[in-house]
């Protein structure tokens, strides 16, 4: 068991998600950067698919009555342990019985992932332990953590290896690579020019369903579009011309024209955008996007 002494802004139990239920209107969801959660899991000796926490912008204060082995990956947050030991990112951390781990505001970017040796033992729903907030199911009672929650968890016993991981180097120049969307031809030259030449600011109303952007209006012919299946990363443009990038928990079908799609390799960067950040879009060819491999998180023993 882990006690949630103080909850963060939006702490969600996550695993790789539940792909395969799209025909029921259920998005795949799962960790916004599954490779980062998988790396954290490897640092604590877990299967990559074990459930951990996805922590957004400001983190919780957690107490580990029986101690435990944990690891953090992703954005750096202000962090402290009651033992006074340093809280390193990308390393195996061994917490003593009764120790607390306190995460404050994110110092850079938006999201981090906390893996716990043995994995959180919330019940799987439709094949996954991931929280789906729009559906109100999965994770811990279908919602974000609250103060007073007791998270089901049994610390695994056995040999502990102290490991370190090196995250893939991500160019942090504020651009997202996209491929042309299925309705790109519906947009006029002015709309395309605005979209590809202008910075767009991330709106505070953004969440895991979608990132709402503000900037020069992306104009398009007002066509009646049949509802179509959509993927996370799809950039929809509603009639007001302000783009929305569909997120991990977004709807599985949409009726707004899609001007572009953020490539899979850049979805981890989407996970780190916070309100007020600006982004620009740069287009690459489909074949180039398909050839891009996922970034590698190399793991090594701490000497």
């Amino acid at each position: 068991m882990i006690e949630v002494v103080r909850a963060g802004l939006c702490d969600l139990v996550m695993d790789p998600g539940r792909p395969g239920w799209g025909a029921l209107g259920v998005p795949a969801g799962g960790a916004a950067d599954p490779a980062a959660l998988a790396a954290a899991n490897r640092l604590v000796g877990n299967d990559a698919a074990a459930a951990g926490l996805e922590i957004t912008l400001s983190g919780p204060l957690l107490r580990f009555p029986a101690g435990g082995v944990v690891a953090l990956t992703g954005a750096r947050f202000a962090a402290a342990r009651s033992s006074g030991a340093a809280v390193a990112w990308n390393e195996t951390l061994v917490l003593a019985a009764g120790e607390t781990l306190s995460l404050g505001p994110a110092q850079t970017d938006c999201r981090c992932w906390l893996a716990l040796r043995g994995g959180l033992a919330v019940p799987p729903v439709m094949g996954s332990r991931s929280t789906l907030l729009p559906g109100g199911f999965g994770g811990h009672q279908g919602r974000a953590l609250q103060a007073g929650d007791a998270l089901p968890w049994t610390p695994a016993v056995g040999e502990i290896r102290l490991l370190r991981t090196h995250p893939p180097v991500a160019p942090h120049n504020g651009t997202l690579r996209v491929v042309a969307g299925p309705q790109a031809a519906c947009f006029d030259d002015a709309g395309l020019a605005a979209f590809f030449a202008s910075p767009y600011r991330v709106d505070p109303a953004s969440d895991r369903r979608g990132l709402r952007l503000h900037g020069p209006a992306v104009t398009h012919a007002r066509i009646e579009l049949a509802s179509q299946g959509v993927l996370p990363g799809a950039v929809q443009v509603p009639p007001d011309g302000q783009p929305i990038i569909l997120g991990w928990d977004g709807p599985v079908t949409g009726g707004y024209p899609v001007i572009a799609g953020v490539i899979s390799a850049d979805l981890p960067r989407l996970a780190q955008l916070r309100p007020g950040d600006t982004v620009r879009f740069v287009t690459i060819e489909l074949e180039e996007a398909r050839a891009l491999a996922a970034g590698q998180w190399d793991i090594e023993d701490i000497a």
């Binding site: 792909p19 395969g20 239920w21 799209g22 025909a23 029921l24 209107g25 259920v26 795949a28 729903v125 439709m126 789906l132 729009p134 559906g135 109100g136 199911f137 999965g138 491929v179 042309a180 969307g181 299925p182 309705q183 790109a184 031809a185 519906c186 395309l192 590809f196 049949a226 509802s227 179509q228 299946g229 959509v230 993927l231 990363g233 799809a234 709807p251 599985v252 079908t253 899609v258 799609g261 953020v262 490539i263 899979s264 287009t283 489909l286 996007a289 398909r290 491999a293 996922a294």
Partner: protein
Amino acid sequence: MGKQAIGQPNPDAGWRWVSERGLRVVTGDTTLPRYLSLVSQNLPEIEDLIPADDSILLILHRGAPMSSALRAALAAPLADAATQTGPLHEIAVEYGGAAGPDLPGLARRAGISVADCIERHAATDYTVAFLGFQPGFPYLRGLPDALCAPRRATPRVRVAAGSVAIGGAYCGIYPADGPGGWHLIGRSAVTPLFDPARAAPALLMPGDRVRFVPA
């Protein structure tokens, strides 16, 4: 970005790439049989299949190439669609009043009485074309032309679970409380439309038929 290169269907077949791991298959009025055919073939590179209005989105596992088996599956002839209809669900509806505040407006728009509106809506057998918007939200095909209406200009912040609604050429039922932009005509007590703990989480599946019965 060259406009000539984008949004063009593959000339050889009714499919095109959507981002780097989506394939949109244009299916027209054969969406359901094509969907069922693809599901039955259980191809290993497919992570998910999302049927919609007149197309299916195939989501491939990241990095998976399009196999010859998948190309063959997309080109394969379809079984007779008439043999593939699902079970019939009779759903009781309380029409109008507080449960269906948009019914009078729809009747006026159609130039018919509210009673006539209800009668026409309940006289039709609907087919679940696809699910979307919310988990378990059915898009029902078969709405009489007179009852079709574009979505409300301003969506409601909260629509009650069970609300029966009209959006464009579709009828739908909201499985859960939430925002919604469709015209509300009544409420059903069919509960729950979606329950993630059930073996079959969605009560209504693509291909199922629905008949509304005035309560």
